[in-house]
């Protein structure tokens, strides 16, 4: 039993550094321009990724690619309703961000609203240790339940 714990510990201590791996897209309106920023986490920018802006009917209103800093800017389009920004970083990685209609109408604002910045910060944050521990806990609980079920079935077959 001690050896099982030792081996499990070896495997689970393997990740020395925890970094997020997901595509994140963030967009905000500033002085009549829509600014898009794509990344794979806080410091890894999504370069040369396809950006598509869609209106609430699913019509494409702008298309382009992010620059070397993961950014893309385009003039604020005339749309009714929210603006959906889709970033396709290739090889199956895609993310979306919705710029609400209210934010589009307040085009004279000079920086992204606090709520949007908070949402962006939450997305960029790496996975917490609590979630990692919870995930491992769930795996072991499921294994325990399956083992019990199989043992019971084996016993009843005998």
């Amino acid at each position: 039993m001690k050896r099982i714990f030792a081996i499990a510990l070896c495997f689970l201590l393997l990740p020395g550094i925890c970094l997020a791996h997901k595509v994140i897209v963030f967009a905000w309106v500033e002085q009549g321009q829509v600014h898009v920023e794509g990344s794979f986490g806080s410091k890894r920018m999504a370069r040369n990724s396809a950006v598509t802006a869609l209106d609430n009917q699913g019509r494409v209103v702008n298309q382009g690619r992010t620059n070397s800093k993961g950014g893309y800017t385009f003039p604020l389009p005339e749309v009714a309703g929210d603006l959906l920004i889709r970033l396709d970083a290739g090889t199956g990685h895609q993310a979306t961000w919705t710029v609400p209609e209210a934010e589009l109408k307040a085009a004279d604002i000079k920086k992204a609203p606090n709520a949007a910045m908070e949402k962006k910060a939450a997305l960029e944050k790496g996975p917490s240790w609590i979630r990692i521990a919870l995930g491992i806990g769930i795996i072991f609980i499921l294994a325990f339940v399956t083992a019990r079920f199989k043992a019971k079935r084996d016993h009843s077959n005998d």
């Binding site: 050896r3 099982i4 030792a6 081996i7 499990a8 495997f11 689970l12 393997l14 990740p15 020395g16 550094i17 925890c18 970094l19 997020a20 791996h21 997901k22 595509v23 794979f40 890894r44 290739g90 090889t91 199956g92 990685h93 895609q94 993310a95 979306t96 790496g126 996975p127 979630r131 990692i132 919870l134 995930g135 491992i136 769930i138 795996i139 072991f140 499921l142 294994a143 325990f144 399956t146 083992a147 199989k150 043992a151 084996d154």
Partner: protein
């Protein structure tokens, strides 16, 4: 290596889900009760492996560890990988929930193949054990890259271009996973041979 939401077409998602369910069913049937703790350990390792990033030059990829999971578990890799990917999707937003079946296939098929092709090499000698582990780690990532490209190609993307992009991005991971799997398997055979399937000990 995790396909996001909204990338694949409906038929590809449905076929992937059906095949993943079938693989998981076979896996659950084949798992022995005493093997369950090993399944949990390896599923946990797989669950956290994607948090380890490999940054070499402009390339940024993460470890997967499907090679060692498959080599040691065989078909039981299906339920292990399914559980780990589901939790990664829910807790870390890695990969889409609708693409879960396809993601499971991409990582579990090479894992199971490495079990049946490379397990006979384990335990023959130290070098052969390391080689089997290295090949399992290396080839699983290579095959997963090919399957990922095929899944994207079935929907809309150009196969060879995607294939080259995915394989290039994962070359460092293939080498690192090969070495890690080689050392892990050699180490496990010495200190905890019970985790190695009986016929290879």
């Amino acid at each position: 290596m995790h396909i996001s939401e909204g990338i694949l077409s409906g038929p590809v998602l449905a076929a992937g889900a059906a095949m993943a369910v079938a693989g998981t069913g076979i896996g659950l049937k084949k798992i022995e009760t005493e093997q369950m703790v090993h399944v949990a350990i390896l599923a946990s390792a797989f669950f956290v492996a994607s948090l380890i990033h490999v940054n070499i030059g402009p390339v940024s990829a993460h470890l997967i560890l499907n090679g060692i999971v498959g080599l040691l578990l065989g078909f039981a890799a299906f339920p292990a990988i399914l559980t780990a990917l589901l939790l990664q999707s829910v807790f870390f937003q890695y990969g889409g929930l609708t693409a879960l079946g396809v993601n499971v296939l991409i990582m579990a098929i090479p894992a199971v193949l490495s079990h049946y092709l490379l397990l006979p090499l384990l335990g023959r000698s130290e070098k052969m054990t390391f080689l089997a582990g290295f090949l399992a780690g290396f080839s699983s990532i290579l095959m997963s890259s090919l399957l990922l490209s095929a899944a994207l190609w079935l929907t809309h993307e150009e196969f060879w271009q995607t294939c080259v992009a995915v394989i290039t991005a994962h070359v460092p991971v293939m080498i690192i996973e090969g070495v890690v799997t080689g050392f892990c398997v050699a180490f496990l055979l010495k200190v905890y041979p019970e985790i190695i399937p009986r016929r290879a000990r």
